[in-house]
Each structure stands twice: as structure tokens, then as C-alpha cells.
């Protein structure tokens, strides 16, 4: 793993055990020499599962499988390998998924469709599933309820730190826990999907409530981040509910009892999404872009992502330059309703442009100090309507080019 991102959290958070979930990692030698590359999550029989996947039109074989398996709505195991994405690998790729799923179903004596698989790493190289199949029984035997950190580590690729988040919340007079782990650093511009993220809870919630809740939370978290505008072929977000907390089963997403749970779930999703941005390839600054005054929330998000994806905005931020002219450019290219003469822009809380021009004599000192820091806040008001959205991104630095010019070699 490369030098840890300067934006990384101080440490991996303490993720408590969750009833009905145990984890393990292993080294099965897919690509990396001296680190783990296989993650296994075993969940209690009967666990409900919801999922959101990449909208890429060239998805990997594991995505095709997960979409099919998800129709059943039950999970028993999640098997993830790093080092090879099993994408654009044709029939061999499909065979690799089939072999992995069958082997896991045998180990856990469950239906094939209760096994979810993900692969992340290089695209286009055949995945040797035999290595995973061979490692599965011993890995399953080693699964423990407290192996969150090592599970998070096993799924990383160009990440510089493992990513986890946890919340505890009351649900129907029971205390329930939500734990999540995620990976991601480059090829991050999720589009109705995410990078790899796995959320587990002991809450007793049926798929009928789980899926809409996850899809909604995904919009304001993973679908609101970008590192480089490149959408992965493998984006996967799974939420597994074991029901072991023993609360009265909840079957509807609009059940008022879910309010606190939903908020906690959203927090976990946003926390993990932000960690992915904080580990953006080459990132040295974390950027929050708040767009308001748009024609709709969706318009605000598109404008925010246009700003967050602009290489000119991102290189200016890397250089500590409050170059709001480039923000204007990005707003203009977003294709959403905008009026140059109503637009206003604030950097670090200081209004620097409004009504079609720079604010005369604004105080440049605090803006320059803000831009030299790690946490950059841009606020753009379009002055058109009431739509607002927040997008997170990072700057574009020389290290992005270093990392991506040498990833395969």
C-alpha cells in the first residue's frame, strides 16, 4: 500500500460485532504477493439483502450475477477478491463466477443465489477462480465476528487506507448496529451504483423496506462523489440485515419506526463515500461543493458533479488557487439552467463572486488561507430555484498521473 493519504482518518474505527455476521480474509495469490486479496462475510441463514450496482453498460461478470441473485433477496455469504476485476473476460469470466458461487454454496449448504460475489482490480485478465475455490473452506472456518479491519483491508486495490464506519441506533425498542466497509480510490464517479461497499446490520428489516432505503441513501452518498469522472464496471453496494437484534420485523420503507435507522444508515453511507474521496488517487485536498438555487435537486447535483469533475477546477484547487472563473466555466458546461448574472460563489464562507462579476474588494486573505488548507468548501448559488445538493470530490495532483501511469506495470 502506498503512502497513506494526507486526508485519511486518524485510524480505522472500532466496528462492534453484529449478531449473525462473521468475517475473514485470506491471501490466495490472485495478483498481490504479500497481502490479503480475499474477503469473506458469512451471514446468518435467512438474512435479507438489498443492493445497488453500476450503471455501466460493460459491467463485470460478478455484477451480472449479483443482479440475478438479488431477485431472491436472501444472503448467506459475500465473497470478494481484489487484484482482478473479472471484467471483459467473456465466458471464462462467467465460469469463474459460477465456480466461486458453487464452492461457497457448498461450504455454507445454501442456495447459489444466496452467495454474492465482487471482484476489483485489473480489467480484462482472466480470473483464476480455482485459487478462490481452494481457499474458501479454510477461510470460512476462520471467520470471526471481530475481523472488520482485516476484511476492509483485503478488498483494497490502489486505496491507501481501509475504510469503515459504524452507527448504533434504536429500532422498535431494540438497539441495532450498522457497520459498513468500503474500498475505492480511482475510477470513482458512481452512477446509480458505487464502488465496493458492504453494509451489515442486525436489524430485522425485510427486503421490501431495505431496498428502497438503500437506493435512496445511495443517491446522497456514493452517487454524490467523484474522484476522476470515470465510472467503474464493478460498482457494488450491498446491505445485509441479519435480523438478530430481534426487533419486530419491519416491511415498509415508509414505516415511521425506521426514521432513526434511516438517518444512521445515511450517515454510514456518507461517511464511507467521503472516505473514498479522502483516498482519491493522489488527493491532497478534500472538497465539499454545495450547490443551491438550482431548478431541482437533480440539477444541483449535475452542476456539482460538473464542477467536481472539471480537471481545470481540480488542478486549480491543488495549486491553492481560488479560481472561481473555472467554477463559472463548469457551471456553464453542466447543461443545466443557469444565469450568469444571478450566479454567486463563496469559497470557505467568503462571497467572492455575485451577480455576474467578482465582489469588488472582497478580502482575499481568508480565502487564500482557506485554499491552502486540506478541507475546501465551495458554495455555488445559481439563483434560479430551490434545488440544492452536496457533492464531494478531491483535487487533481501529479500523483494521480503517477499512480495511473504505472498501475498495471
Amino acid at each position: 500500500m502506498a503512502a497513506v493519504s494526507p486526508l485519511a482518518p486518524e485510524r480505522f474505527p472500532e466496528l462492534p460485532p453484529i449478531g449473525g455476521v462473521s468475517l475473514a480474509s485470506a491471501h490466495c495469490g490472485i495478483r498481490y504477493k504479500e497481502r490479503t486479496d480475499l474477503m469473506l462475510a458469512v451471514v446468518a441463514p435467512g438474512s435479507a439483502v438489498a443492493g445497488v450496482f453500476t450503471r455501466s453498460l460493460t459491467p463485470g461478470a460478478p455484477i451480472d450475477w449479483c443482479r440475478r441473485a438479488l431477485r431472491r433477496g436472501r444472503a448467506r455469504a459475500v465473497v470478494v477478491n481484489s487484484g482482478n476485476a473479472n471484467v471483459f473476460t467473456g465466458q471464462r469470466g462467467r465460469d469463474a463466477v459460477t465456480a466461486t458461487v458453487a464452492a461457497a454454496a457448498k461450504v455454507f449448504d445454501c442456495d447459489d443465489r444466496e452467495v454474492f460475489v465482487s471482484s476489483t482490480g485489473v480489467i480484462g485478465e482472466p480470473l483464476d477462480a480455482a485459487k478462490i475455490v481452494a481457499a474458501l473452506p479454510a477461510t470460512a472456518a476462520a471467520a470471526r465476528p471481530d475481523a472488520w479491519a482485516e476484511a476492509a483491508l483485503a478488498i483494497t486495490t490502489t486505496d491507501t487506507f481501509p475504510k469503515g464506519a459504524t452507527r448504533r441506533v434504536e429500532l422498535g425498542n431494540r438497539s441495532v448496529t450498522i457497520n459498513g466497509i468500503a474500498k475505492g480510490s480511482g475510477m470513482i464517479a458512481p452512477d446509480m451504483g458505487t464502488m465496493l461497499a458492504y453494509i451489515f446490520t442486525d436489524a430485522n428489516i425485510a427486503v421490501t423496506a431495505l431496498q428502497p432505503m438503500l437506493a435512496a441513501g445511495n443517491e446522497r452518498s456514493f452517487n454524490s462523489i467523484t474522484v476522476d469522472g470515470d465510472t467503474s464496471t464493478s460498482d457494488t453496494l450491498l446491505l445485509v440485515a441479519t435480523g438478530k437484534a430481534g426487533n419486530k420485523r419491519i416491511t415498509r420503507a415508509d414505516d415511521p419506526a425506521l426514521r432513526a435507522f434511516r438517518r444512521a444508515l445515511d450517515e454510514v453511507l456518507i461517511d464511507l463515500a467521503q472516505q473514498i474521496v479522502r483516498d482519491g488517487e493522489g488527493a491532497e485536498k478534500f472538497v465539499t461543493i454545495e450547490v443551491s438555487g438550482a431548478a431541482s435537486p437533480a440539477a444541483a447535483r449535475r452542476v456539482g458533479l460538473a464542477i467536481g469533475n472539471s480537471p481545470l477546477v481540480k488542478t486549480a484547487i491543488a495549486a491553492g488557487d481560488a479560481n472561481w472563473g473555472r467554477i463559472v466555466m463548469a457551471v456553464g458546461k453542466a447543461g443545466e439552467k443557469a444565469d450568469r448574472d444571478r450566479l454567486s460563489i463563496a469559497v470557505g464562507g467568503v462571497q467572492i463572486a455575485e451577480k455576474g462579476g467578482p465582489v469588488p474588494g472582497y478580502d482575499e486573505g481568508p480565502v487564500a488561507r482557506h485554499m491552502s488548507g486540506r478541507d475546501i468548501r465551495l458554495a455555488v448559488d445559481l439563483g434560479i430555484g430551490r434545488g440544492r445538493w452536496t457533492v464531494w470530490t478531491c483535487d487533481l495532483t501529479h500523483r494521480y498521473i503517477d499512480i495511473n501511469g504505472s498501475y498495471r506495470s
Copy 2:
């Protein structure tokens, strides 16, 4: 001007004089200290003019003016300054355009709407039009028919070489000439517009034929290039026809007599568009992306631009890595119909991936040699339909970040 791009043509081409066109440049001190920053093209009274402009929703004040003036379809002068884009400058920006236009109209004793203006450079700083107004009379007096190279130089910003192209063609038994100059290096992702490009011809063609011909030519040239996916607020393409060649006036774009002229015009447009890519900020490789087998030509272009805009594809090319997995990713995110199992990819003429997987045992030697060169050819066949399009781009290198982290300082 920075070190000349390694992809630059050997020299600025010999642009012959065109009846009814004279040019001049001047230093009026808008931003640069020791170079020209004002370009003036004077054209014969009654010249017809066609134009295409940025689709940005935050265009500069000069764009607003040109759109208005174009309705009249007549040109007498084109005034272009570099160093300041006059974008997001509010009422002061509009006033600067009005002052410049009025001064030029007075010098040439013409209607305001026969004066076209462009500005390129930093966004958001007030443009001091008084400097341009003061310089105009002497600049006009100095205009000559052979000043193409200095005109092309005066409009550059981060460009490392001036850009020009010329063709001569028969039209109605007369020999007519088409000359074009252009500028552009970063913020290049024209969307129904271009960077700054000015085409002049002595052909006698009415606006009714000129405008549709220019709009069509623009699609396959400037609208098919990208450097960084950032669409400028100032993109402008003008075509002026003085009629001095004396051919019988042509009034319809579908006039068969125009066939050779149209082909020559397209060549000039593509030549200039490619020169802009060859001067892409930090570019070290020129990349041609041929997409075929798409559902439609428009779909092929969108897929081509998704590949050409992908920072992961562009950094791989910079590193000489034939990373076709990233091309698959970019095809997948383009949002156009694609089928992983029908996709095929060739690099430098060597088929390396087909039918959902890598070509077994393809010869890596020629591919590696091709990738180490300056001219990279990618061919992607989607295997869906008959739509094809060619897109040009460049690689993404450290110098892009250097240039854009320091442009304002």
C-alpha cells in the same frame, strides 16, 4: 510562450493573401508584457459571415454580442484580444464589448453589427476596453493582406504554437482560397462551438449557404476534439466570405457546385482542430479514436468522447500502456448501447480484444512499439450497428497539472 509542443507541425503554413482580407496585430497591454494581444481582421464591405458559438450556459459577453450581430449576416471587422476572456464580468463586460464595437464601427464607418469581437484568457477579471479602443486606429492603419502568422500569434494564450491552415479549390470556374487561424490548448471540449477559429475565403457565397455548411463542418472537426473535457465559455468559430474571387454567387448549401469547396472547408476545419489537440496542455501524444459499429453516428461520437475524456485512458496512454481495460470502462460509462460480448478493440492496427475478452496470444511487440510513439490510433468496434465517428484527443501528463496550477499566478 512555453516550450513548443512535441506534436506541433514543423512550421506555420504559408497562407496566401485573400482578396478583401487584411490583418494586423498589436500590443495593447491587457495582460501580457512582451507579446501582442490584439488581432484585427478587416474584410471588404458586404462580406458574408457565418458563425458557431459555445453552448455554455455561462457564455462571455462577446459571445452574446456575436450571436446578436450574426443575425445581420454581414462582417466588416473582427477584433480579438487575448489575456482576458471578458467572461462573468457583468455590466462592465457588456460595456467593454459595446465600447470596442463602437470604436471599430467608427474606424471602418460601418454598422455596429458588422463588428465581431472575441476575448480569450482569464475569466472574471474586468476587461479594460479603453486599451483596445486606443489601439484600434493605428492597428487598422497597419493591416496587411499577408499578416496571417502574426494574427494567429496574437490570439494565443497557453498555446505553444500559432495555428493556421489553407486550401485552394475551384468554385464556379474561379480559383478560391480558404484560410483559417485558430487558438486553443486547454478548456477544450467544444460542444456545438469551438475554441477561437476564424476562417476567411474570397468565395462568393451567401450567408444562407455559408451558415449550414459551417455548422456541418464544425460537427466533424471542432466538435470531435477534446483536451480536458472542459467546455469553454468563449468558443467561437467564424467564417467570412468576401466574394472577391468573383464566382457566380452561391445561395444554397446543397448547390452541387459547392462540393469541392465544402470538402476543402472541412479539411481546413479538421486541420485546425487537430492542431489544437496537438497543442493540448501538456500533450505528448496525439490520439485518434475511431469508433465504429455504433447504433448511430451520434452514439459513436459520444463513445469516442467518453474514451477521449477519460483521465484513466489518457494517463495510461501517457505512460505508453495499451490499457484496453480502461477503454472498456469508458465505453461502459458513455451511456450508449454497447454489448461487452461484441466489443472489439484495436491499438495501432493490432486487434487486442474481441468478443468480451482479450485476443489470446496477440503479438504485444508491435502494440508496445506503437504505444511508445507520438501518434496513437485506437479503433473500437461496438458490434451493434453502422454508426461511425472519429474523435481526436491527447494524453494527460504532469505538464497539464503544472500549467493549470500556475496559469493565473
